[in-house]
Amino acid sequence: MVLIDQGRCIGCGICIPYCPRNAIKLDPNLKKAYIVAEECVECGTCARVVMCPRDAIVGVVEGYVREVRAHFSDPYTLHPSTGIPGRGTEEMKTNDVTGRFKRGEVGFAIDIGRPLVGVTFAEISRFIKVLNTVGVMWEKANPILYLLKGGLEMGEFPEELNNVKLHSAVLEFKVPIAKVRDVIEKLKYLAETTDTVFSLGIISRVDDDFTIPVIEVLRELGLEVSPWAKTNVGLGRPLVE
């Protein structure tokens, strides 16, 4: 794990505000900084960015649990299952060449724990189980699913991971547009019962006249769509029409 070398640290406190999880504390008696292991998600930010006057922040990730945390929290780490950095997949970013999301299908990217609150594996498991009741088509390349034991239907992670916290984790799946209402119902339930937050992204092909078919469904459901969105501009080749 990322560590502060107690022999080198002079307790100047420079590093403390840099941690997005408030995991770096100062021991008032010893006058040394230390990292709270349960709160640290191994994002690597402190080791990368802080100009520690004594070079006391050492980035060493050791052991299965710490490695899992680093793979999901440090964007600079290449994920072994997807071969790309980060917590998710190529998603709609390469849809112009992969055709992952077809016309008439709607994708969901549920970023649990984001922004800044964090999420445990136990809570991710609960999300998977609730969404399984709608019958969604999971994105099989999503790295979080590689950690499941007993398959997607069970939605369970190994016991030792359950209380482990990640900065965030993305669940990705798609459904036919007719099922969007059912998914939204489940998401409303999850929003009411969770102890964390999630950021919701909804993916859709754009029609030739530049309309986005899913927007009408979302508006009928009384949902507010942000003006901010990601647009794949269709320059990839060979193009999936």
Binding site: P17, Y18, P20, C43, T45, V49, P75, Y76, G83, G86, G88, E90, E91, M92, K93, T94, D96, V97, T98, G107, A109, D111, R114, P115, L116, V117, S168, V170, L190, T194, D195, T196, V197, F198, S199, L200, G201, I203, S204, R205, V206, D208, F210, I212, L218, E224, V225, S226, P227, W228, A229, K230, T231, N232, V233, G234, L235, G236, R237, P238
Partner: protein
């Protein structure tokens, strides 16, 4: 990976924020992918981005810009340029279209404006990822004005405590808003953090709460 998504703030502020991402799908296996990305970086850099990033190397405020422009993996590269006005984005897209590199290009920003640009350039939006915001225990989030800054790093590497620390330094006259914005940008490894918008938002926080 949704790291350019879910930015928040008033529409006038969001309209000064565009991320152009270029990515090679692992399903395609492009020949000479590195050379293609060198060309992409030339285009992104030419139109005066406020940030530039390469997932192999890092962002331009933390790493050497020359390395960002030149070092790539054999496959699966991802790069970003961040811009503050539509004209820049249009020029970038025009050049990328002309270069015919075959790589996937995603523009994140106010999508109605992006669609307008595409129409003017004779391009068509292929797929969108819409943001439906944050759900659940929103009372656990930092204040909105801090989130406007921190959400510019979708991996949430930009620390709210650092924002507040730097605001206090600006108030004491020890740091300029521009330098504070650069310090925050270092935390966003991918280089998608809009430094200019952060500077404006920091000024707003400094003015609003004395």
């Amino acid at each position: 990976m949704t790291h350019t998504h879910h930015r928040v703030g008033p529409i006038e502020s969001l309209k000064k924020d565009y991320v152009v991402l270029v990515m090679a799908s692992r399903d395609v296996k492009y020949e000479n992918e590195g050379e293609r990305f060198k060309k992409v970086m030339e285009v992104l850099a030419k139109h005066m981005p406020v940030n530039l990033g390469n997932m192999v190397v890092g962002n331009k405020y933390w790493r050497d810009e020359e390395e960002i422009m030149m070092r790539f993996r054999e496959y699966g590269n991802i790069v970003h340029g961040v811009y503050i006005d539509q004209e820049q984005v249009k020029q970038v897209l025009k050049d990328l279209k002309a270069a015919e590199l075959g790589l996937s290009v995603v523009v994140t920003g106010v999508y109605e404006d992006v669609f307008k640009m595409l129409k003017e350039l004779g391009l068509k939006p292929h797929t969108v990822n819409l943001s439906l915001g944050v759900w659940g225990r929103k009372e656990r989030l930092p204040p909105e004005e801090v989130l406007e800054i921190t959400t510019m790093c979708g991996h949430c590497m930009v620390s709210p405590a650092l924002v507040m620390k730097l605001v206090s330094e600006i108030r004491k006259g020890r740091l300029s808003p521009a330098s504070a914005a650069v310090e925050l940008a270092k935390e966003c490894v991918c280089g998608v953090f809009n430094v200019k918008r952060a500077e404006d938002l920091l000024r707003r926080i400094v003015r609003s709460k004395a």
